[in-house]
Each structure stands twice: as structure tokens, then as C-alpha cells.
């Protein structure tokens, strides 16, 4: 259990094991067998499993989504990759009208087991068309499951679960997670789609985070700890179906909630979560909950503009303290502004 793999290696291993285990599984996407192998997540798979099961495709997002559906209703289990979620906007019709509804509208006669792996970009001038995180869209569509693991452990286990699932799954990977290492068990295992992960226990305030924001939340929790505030960090690794129970249990205990999200603020996932809680229990919150998410603007390209576009742990600390009546400023907690804000780690030097 102490084996350390990067997130991208965990994805690679999950895919490799799934291809090995189930002959119906196949993998396609732009650049899947190329030398970069989708940020290292598909490297070597074509050599190992053959070009009939691992292959490159034309730049036809909508068409190939349809192809995936057609193969799925005839017994295959395709994995389709998109190097950016933004590109998959060309495939919305097939995903939402067809894949999501197929099983339902045909009275349960055929299922559509597809995993749509999409990358969410950030930094180094990714800009307005290479950085969108639209998980709230997919979560709004009945028939889709939306998965967004944070750790290498979950990336592997949840990708395997997604491939095993008989439904279309939107599997979102943040580009800045790909190179982060963590313990990953050997062999084939699953992590269930649905339950939140309690990333850190605490009784004073709940920080519900997802994807890369979970890491920011954990840093915030450390700082809060020093101030005597024990934050519970929940990793919302599945957006849909939403683990309403798991969230409620934590907030019932803490009475305080920050939802932090990598999507735009308005009409994002935070509203659903806060609203569901208050609908069930008007007195669940000791104080007003808060949402820390991306502002309602397209992502600007220049790092000078983007640096304050993405919320980070200081924003969470300030918001948490505010819930305890403590007014503070972001600057007090900016400990790492030596590293430029537009790169995931210092080894990154561009161009993509």
C-alpha cells in the first residue's frame, strides 16, 4: 500500500488493467497512442493491447462520441478521451441527447457503458478555451454520472469503477493533478462512485472541495488548525450522483460549510449543495455558508490576469475565519507566492 505513483500513472494502470481484464474495453482519442500519450496516461497501451483496442481518431468529437455509443450498445465498453473538456463541447448533442438518455428512452433495453475522460486545463496561458470545468452541466443531466477524483488512489479505483459501470460516465481530470504522486495499491481494485471522501476530519467547519481544490482545502485546514479551528475537508470526488448523506453528516456536525469548486460561481455546484441542506434542515448552519469558486468571467490568458482568477487556500482560510467572526486578509496567508501562479510545480516550463 505504500507504493507511490503519479496520478497519470494511476490512470494508465487502471486503463491497462481494464483492457487486460475485459476484452470489451477499448480506448480511443486524439493522440492516445502518440509519444506524449495524453499526459502520460496512455503511454505504451497500443503496443501492449494492439491497435484494434487502443487507437487514434480523426478530429471529430461529435462523430466519435456517436461511434462510441454505437459500439457500446453492441457490447463494447469504450473509453473516449478529450485533451480538454472544451473540445468536448462539440460532442454535447451525442453525450446529452443520446448517451445519457439511451437506456431510459428505450425502456432499459440497451445500456451505454462509456467513459468520457476529459481534461480540465489551467495555467500557462491556457486561456478562455482550454480551461473550462463544466461538471455542473453534466451533473444536471439525468443519466450521466460525473466523477472527478483528486488522489492517485481514487483516480485508479474510480476509473476502474467507471469502466465497469454500465452507464455513461464523465470522468474529469485536472491537468495539475497528473503529476502529483500518492500511494496507489497494486492490482485491480475499485473505489465506488458516489461516496465522498473525508480527506481530513474536523469538527468545526466543513470544507467541501473537489479536484485540485481539495489540495487547497487541505492546506487551508492546516493553517486553520494553527488558529485552533479544526476543519473537516470533504473531497467531492463524485459530483453526480451526489452524496447528499455524506455531506449532511459532516455539516450536521460542524454547522459550518464552505463549498469550494473549480467551476464558475453562478449556477455552479455549490448552490445545489447549500440549497439541499437548508431545504432539509433550516437550522443546519450556525452561520452563513460560503462558496469559493471561479469568478463569472472567461479565463483570461495572461498570468497577470489569471493569478487572481483562481481561488487558492488563502481564500478558503479567510472565508473560514469569517464564519468564526474573524476578519482577515488574503495576504496574511500567502506563504508561497514565490512560485508563479500559472504553473503546477516548478518543473513545468511550458509550452503545454
Amino acid at each position: 500500500m505504500s507504493r507511490i505513483l503519479k496520478y497519470c500513472e494511476a490512470i494508465l494502470e487502471a486503463t491497462d488493467l481494464s483492457l487486460e481484464k475485459n476484452p470489451s474495453v477499448y480506448l480511443m482519442g486524439l493522440g492516445v497512442p502518440d509519444p506524449k500519450g495524453i499526459f502520460g496516461t496512455t503511454t505504451g497501451l497500443q503496443e501492449k493491447h494492439g491497435s484494434h483496442r487502443v487507437f487514434d481518431i480523426p478530429i471529430s468529437e461529435n462523430g466519435l462520441t456517436g461511434v462510441a455509443i454505437g459500439s457500446a450498445i453492441t457490447g463494447k465498453r469504450p473509453i473516449l478521451t478529450h485533451q480538454r473538456l472544451d473540445f468536448a463541447l462539440l460532442a454535447i448533442e451525442q453525450m446529452v441527447n443520446q448517451a445519457a438518455k439511451w437506456h431510459y428512452m428505450f425502456g432499459g433495453q440497451a445500456s451505454v457503458p462509456i467513459v468520457f475522460r476529459m481534461m480540465i486545463g489551467r495555467g500557462w496561458g491556457q486561456g478562455p478555451q482550454h480551461s473550462q470545468a463544466l461538471h455542473s452541466w453534466f451533473a444536471h443531466i439525468p443519466g450521466l454520472k460525473v466523477v472527478m477524483p483528486t488522489t492517485p488512489h481514487d483516480a485508479k479505483g474510480m476509473l476502474i469503477s467507471s469502466i465497469e459501470d454500465n452507464n455513461p460516465i464523465v470522468f474529469l481530470e485536472h491537468r495539475w493533478l497528473h503529476n502529483i504522486p500518492g500511494p496507489v495499491p497494486e492490482g485491480y481494485y475499485t473505489v465506488p462512485l458516489g461516496p465522498i471522501r473525508i480527506a481530513r476530519e474536523g469538527a468545526d467547519i466543513t470544507i467541501l472541495a473537489n479536484s485540485i481544490m481539495t489540495l487547497e482545502a487541505l492546506r487551508a485546514a492546516e493553517i486553520l488548525e494553527k488558529q485552533g479551528i479544526h476543519a473537516e475537508v470533504l473531497d467531492l470526488r463524485t459530483i453526480a450522483p451526489l452524496d447528499r448523506e455524506g455531506i449532511k453528516n459532516s455539516v450536521k456536525k460542524t454547522g459550518r460549510l464552505i463549498v469550494t469548486d473549480i467551476g464558475h460561481h453562478s449556477f455552479g455546484i455549490g448552490g445545489e449543495i447549500i440549497s439541499s441542506l437548508i431545504e432539509e434542515d433550516i437550522s443546519i448552519f450556525k452561520t452563513s455558508p460560503s462558496r469559493i469558486s471561479l469568478p463569472d468571467f472567461p479565463t483570461p490568458t495572461s498570468h497577470a490576469l489569471a493569478k487572481d482568477y483562481y481561488p487558492r487556500y488563502p481564500h478558503l482560510v479567510v472565508a473560514a475565519l469569517k464564519q468564526f467572526g474573524i476578519i482577515s486578509s488574503l495576504k496574511e496567508f500567502e506563504t508561497d507566492n514565490l512560485r508563479p501562479s500559472d504553473i503546477p510545480d516548478s518543473s513545468f516550463t511550458g509550452p503545454f
Binding site: 462523430g63 466519435l64 461511434v67 425502456g107 440497451a110
Partner: protein, 319 residues
């Protein structure tokens, strides 16, 4: 060559089913849009006769003929149109969402063009599994205006997939002629050539020609020699959607309609059969009676079937 009489029976059956739907639509019990295929039946009959039950077919909003010709259950179709729990989608789909997997009819949906790539995907499965299955993708000429049609053609051509693109060119999309939709100086099937796909244009009201072309295309597909695009000229008799006629509303002329009526695929085949002494009035009448009985049965079945309980609305969200 298949029995001409079986073509006749198929076309007649589709025609009679559609006409019965049209007749009874005003009873307000078929509470969903219906896109009738009257006038275009020869394409469905000829194409589906050229393949087997194990082969696949998919279609769009105007799919009754394809579903029936492929062997889809008449009862399940009528019940579906009636919104009953015995319908082919248990009431979740209606006329625009037909399916009968046991007959190889894998589904029809009303988003123009959207089953084309899905059909190509079923052909990918066949190829990956080294099956001899062929997929028929039925669609109208309007669907070739959708980008996804071209993405599908490119992929099928590229991978040499066993799929036959069957384009029913009935000159209209809803109430719109070709003129504001496609360049008049190129034929629809030329688009296939652009993708390196063998293409033919033919008379869609000539069931024998349809059968011949689809047979050739399916032999080719089964031999691993890839896709074919077939453009069949035809004409929709009834209104775009619904049971009536719409020649009076102004988008096409009654003369044009009358002209095409003289090219009726059923009449044409009847003349041919009679000329060859294969059909008499009595024979046809017997056939009609048999079909009439089957249709009455199907409608009775649909009518007497229970509605799905609304609480079952929650079923089938996830597999």
C-alpha cells in the same frame, strides 16, 4: 433475387399500417408526433430484404417503415405509439424512438443525423469482433447537412467499416425544399465521393433496384471492403409530421405530389407482378385481409394494453 411477391407484401403491409395510423390518429389516442413513410416504403423493403435479422439497422424520426421492414414487432410499435407499457420502449419513446433489438433494429431517434455515427459505431463493433454483420443507416437527405454525417462518412471510409448509408432523398426537410439547404449544382451523393466512399443514386420507388444495390453493398461490406452510400430519390406523400396531407399549405404544389403519386412504389410493383402473372385481384385481396387482421390485432393489443404507471417513470435511469 428475392421473391417479388415478398416485396409487394412488405410494401403493402407498411402502407396499410401507416394508413391505419393516419385514419385513427384523430381519435386522439396516439398522443405523439408521427412521421409517416407513405410513398417511401420501397426503400425500407428493398434494403431490409437484402440483409438478415442478424444485421443491424438504425433510423431517425421517420422510422416506421425501417423498423417494420427490418422485422420489428408491429404490436410493440403500435403499443408504443399509444404510450402503453407493452410498447417497444415501455412508453418512454413514442413513434420517434423505435427499437427492436431482437430484429436487429437498434434504435431510431428524432434528432436529425444523430443515429448516423451510432450506426457507424455498431459497424465498428462488427469489425472489431470479426463478425459478418452489416449495418444499415437510414436517414433523409436533410441529415447530410449535419456535420456529424460527414464525420461519420470520414470514419467509416477511413476504417473501411461494414455500414451502408441509405439516404432517402424526398426533396424536402419539413416544408423546406432543397433550394435554401443544399447547392443545386451538385447531387447529394457527391458528398460521399468527397469522403472516398462509393456512391450511387437510384430510384427509391423501384424496390428491385434498391434491393440490388443494397445486396451489392452488403456483399462488399461483408467482404471487408467498406461502406457504400446510396441515395434513393423518393417522395413523402403525407404531411411532414402527422396524419394528413399538406400540399395545400403552399410549400409544394399539388401537381408535384400528383406526379409522384403516379410513381407509387406499390402500384409499380403491382403492375410488374400482374404483368408476370404473379398477382391477381384475389391474391391481393387475400393479402390485404391477412395484413388487415394483423393490424387489427396490433391495434387491439395496443388499446387493451395498460398504460405504464406513472410511478415507474423513475425506472431505467441507470443500467
Amino acid at each position: 433475387m428475392k421473391n417479388l411477391k415478398s416485396f409487394f407484401e412488405q410494401i403493402l403491409r407498411i402502407r396499410m399500417v401507416e394508413e391505419t395510423i393516419a385514419e385513427r390518429y384523430s381519435e386522439q389516442e396516439m398522443r405523439c408526433p408521427v412521421h409517416l413513410s407513405i410513398g417511401q416504403e420501397a426503400i425500407a423493403a428493398g434494403a431490409c430484404s437484402a440483409v438478415t435479422t442478424n444485421d443491424y439497422a438504425m433510423s431517425g424520426h421517420r422510422s416506421h417503415a425501417h423498423y417494420l421492414a427490418k422485422g420489428g414487432s408491429l404490436k410493440a410499435m403500435i403499443a408504443e405509439i399509444y404510450g402503453k407499457s407493452t410498447g417497444c420502449c415501455e412508453g418512454r419513446g413514442g413513434s420517434m424512438h423505435l427499437i427492436d433489438r431482437s430484429a436487429g433494429f437498434l434504435g431510431a431517434v428524432p434528432i436529425v443525423g444523430s443515429t448516423i455515427p451510432i450506426a457507424v459505431g455498431t459497424a465498428l463493433t462488427s469489425q472489431l469482433d470479426h463478425k459478418e454483420t452489416v449495418t444499415l443507416a437510414f436517414f433523409g437527405e436533410g441529415a447530410t447537412e449535419e456535420g456529424v454525417f460527414h464525420e461519420s462518412m470520414n470514419f467509416a471510409s477511413l476504417r473501411n467499416l461494414p455500414v451502408i448509408f441509405i439516404c432517402e432523398n424526398n426533396l424536402y426537410s419539413v416544408y423546406t425544399s432543397m433550394e435554401p439547404r443544399q447547392p443545386m449544382h451538385r447531387e447529394v451523393n457527391l458528398q460521399a465521393i468527397g469522403h472516398g466512399v462509393e456512391a450511387h443514386q437510384a430510384d427509391g420507388n423501384d424496390v428491385e433496384e434498391v434491393y440490388r444495390l443494397v445486396t451489392a453493398a452488403s456483399l462488399k461490406a461483408r467482404a471487408g471492403d467498406g461502406p457504400t452510400f446510396l441515395e434513393f430519390k423518393t417522395y413523402r406523400w403525407r404531411e411532414h409530421c402527422g396524419p394528413g396531407y399538406d400540399n395545400h399549405i403552399g410549400y409544394r404544389s399539388p401537381e408535384e405530389f400528383e406526379g409522384w403519386k403516379t410513381l407509387c412504389p406499390l402500384d409499380r410493383l403491382r403492375r410488374r407482378l400482374k404483368a408476370e402473372n404473379l398477382l391477381t385481384e384475389t391474391l391481393e385481396e387475400n393479402l390485404r385481409q391477412k395484413i388487415r387482421a394483423e393490424i387489427e390485432d396490433a391495434f387491439a393489443f395496443a388499446r387493451s394494453s395498460p398504460f405504464p404507471d406513472s410511478s415507474t417513470m423513475t425506472q431505467y435511469l441507470f443500467a
